[in-house]
């Protein structure tokens, strides 16, 4: 009879383990980027949003490309990424009906203190990349269709370099997120393009420092979109829209501006900028 009790206990445990915590609770899935996650922004924003609306925001952090694909599969309610051209493609496919700019920050070129390419402190990112290629200085690329990766590739193009054809052993494509890329750059004394948010919150810098910053072409815009419920009926359109509305509201925008690491602001709200 002891065995029947064990069986009963196992059956109940089994049943419990398979019931989702709350099938109809107030929650949404937001597909966002590793840079927004690794910077710690969500840890700062989401509790405030939950307190105001009671909505749980579950963030899946992937690269921009991957996040948009997750939206295309209907596995996310909202996408929050930073590659305008990819976002506009998403719109043109009808996967969303509206794109809302939210905030911006900038990219920085990170490199070793020893500066093998001799570009530290310069202001021209395109020239710096050309020099890195000429000198064959080690360079880490995320290679993961993330917003940062797309920005990096675009900069090579602006520099007139066909990086897919002309890369050499100095160019290491690791196919991973920003944190991993920074770790790899630190360990191999290489250059890497990072968003400032992740860089500021990154704790394993080793000998890495900011090499190039401030170039207008390093501007990095973030946008948010609701996945189109007409295409994906299971999308929680109402809750998702509440999140978007909050992000672009004065309250949400202030929350974004308030996020600081060591007193330094990471993201600059610009929902009201018509050109963003």
């Amino acid at each position: 009879m002891k065995r029947l009790h064990t069986l009963a206990a196992l059956a109940i445990f089994g049943a419990l383990s398979m019931t989702p915590a709350s099938a109809q609770d107030k929650s949404i899935v937001v597909a966002s980027t590793t840079s927004t996650q690794d910077s710690g922004l969500f840890g700062h924003l989401l509790p405030a949003f939950k307190q105001k609306t009671g909505i749980d925001v579950k963030v899946i952090a992937q690269g921009t490309g991957q996040a948009l694909d997750t939206g295309r599969r209907g596995d996310a309610d909202v996408v929050f990424v930073h590659a305008k051209s990819a976002e506009e493609k998403f719109l043109s496919e009808g996967q969303s009906t509206k794109r809302y700019p939210v905030m911006y920050n900038d990219f920085v070129l990170i490199g070793p203190k020893s500066d093998p390419a001799g570009i530290k402190g310069t202001k021209d990112i395109v020239a710096a990349l050309k020099t890195i290629k000429e000198k064959g200085a080690p360079f880490i690329s995320r290679g993961d269709r993330s917003g940062t990766n797309m920005a990096e590739l675009k900069l090579w193009t602006v520099a007139g370099i066909d990086i897919a054809k002309d890369k050499g052993p100095w160019y290491k494509d690791i196919g991973q997120g920003m944190g991993a890329a920074l770790n790899t750059a630190s360990a191999s004394n290489a250059y890497v393009i990072s968003d400032r948010g992740t860089w500021l919150s990154f704790k394993n810098r080793g000998d890495l420092v900011v090499a190039v910053e401030g170039d207008k072409r390093l501007f990095n815009q973030y946008g948010v979109m609701l996945v189109n419920p007409a295409k994906h009926p299971t999308v929680k359109a109402d809750l998702g829209q509440q999140f978007i509305d909050w992000l672009i509201s004065p309250e949400g925008q202030k929350n974004i501006a308030d996020y600081k690491i060591n007193g330094q602001q990471l993201f600059y709200p610009n929902a009201t900028d018509p050109n963003a």
Binding site: L10, F13, G14, S17, M18, T19, P20, A21, A23, V29, D38, F42, G43, D56, K58, V59, I60, A61, R72, R73, G74, D75, Q176, G177, G179, A180, L182, N183, S201, F202, K203, N204, R205, H232, T234
Partner: protein, 232 residues
Amino acid sequence: MMSNLYDALDLVRSFDASLFQIIGLSLFVSLSAVAWAAVIGVPLGALIALNVFPGRTFIIVVINALMGLPPVVAGLIVYLSLSRSGPLGSWGILFTPQAMIIAQTLLVTPIIAALTRQTIEDAWVEYRDELTAMNIGVAARAATLIWDCRFSLTTALLAGFGRAAAEVGAIIIVGGNIDGFTRTMTTTIALETSKGDLPRAIALGGVLVGIIVIVNALAWSTQRLGARFSGA
């Protein structure tokens, strides 16, 4: 390195609440997976061990091979199945602990089935005459042998748990590593390492290794306990 270790110890000692939430989720997911894998794998292994049917050898080879199923592949399969645009999308459980349990069950079931099959097959060689002479029916044979081999089978379950608790590839894909919801010890270690936050990663790594050591100690003491019933 040393400062990281000290910080890690502090984290554990201070009973950081989120740390324990992560540990709790890890245990919940892996233990559930082992339970399901046992429910499926033990009878399956016994069935294969005790019956002759066409394709038996092929099935045994396949199950043995599946013991080495790469976790990321298991994760990918489950991800594609549970995605809203996939066949089981209507279940709506992608990016939840339930999806993680399914993925780990997929990984652990072949281990338990293969080990059960081997154990029961060996036991059948030993008990075949006695059980046949006592006119024991097919289902009862399986039940008798499973109970008789309970110590070896428990070791198999513990092996399955070790595999589940240690993997990260499957659950990070199907769980999405969502803060406070689908973040386990292994996925957090991966995340914190990539963020460069090593004390937290080390603390969790230590706890995880500690759990694995305890599981192995349990396996060892189960064997010793089994010896009590097995004679010399």
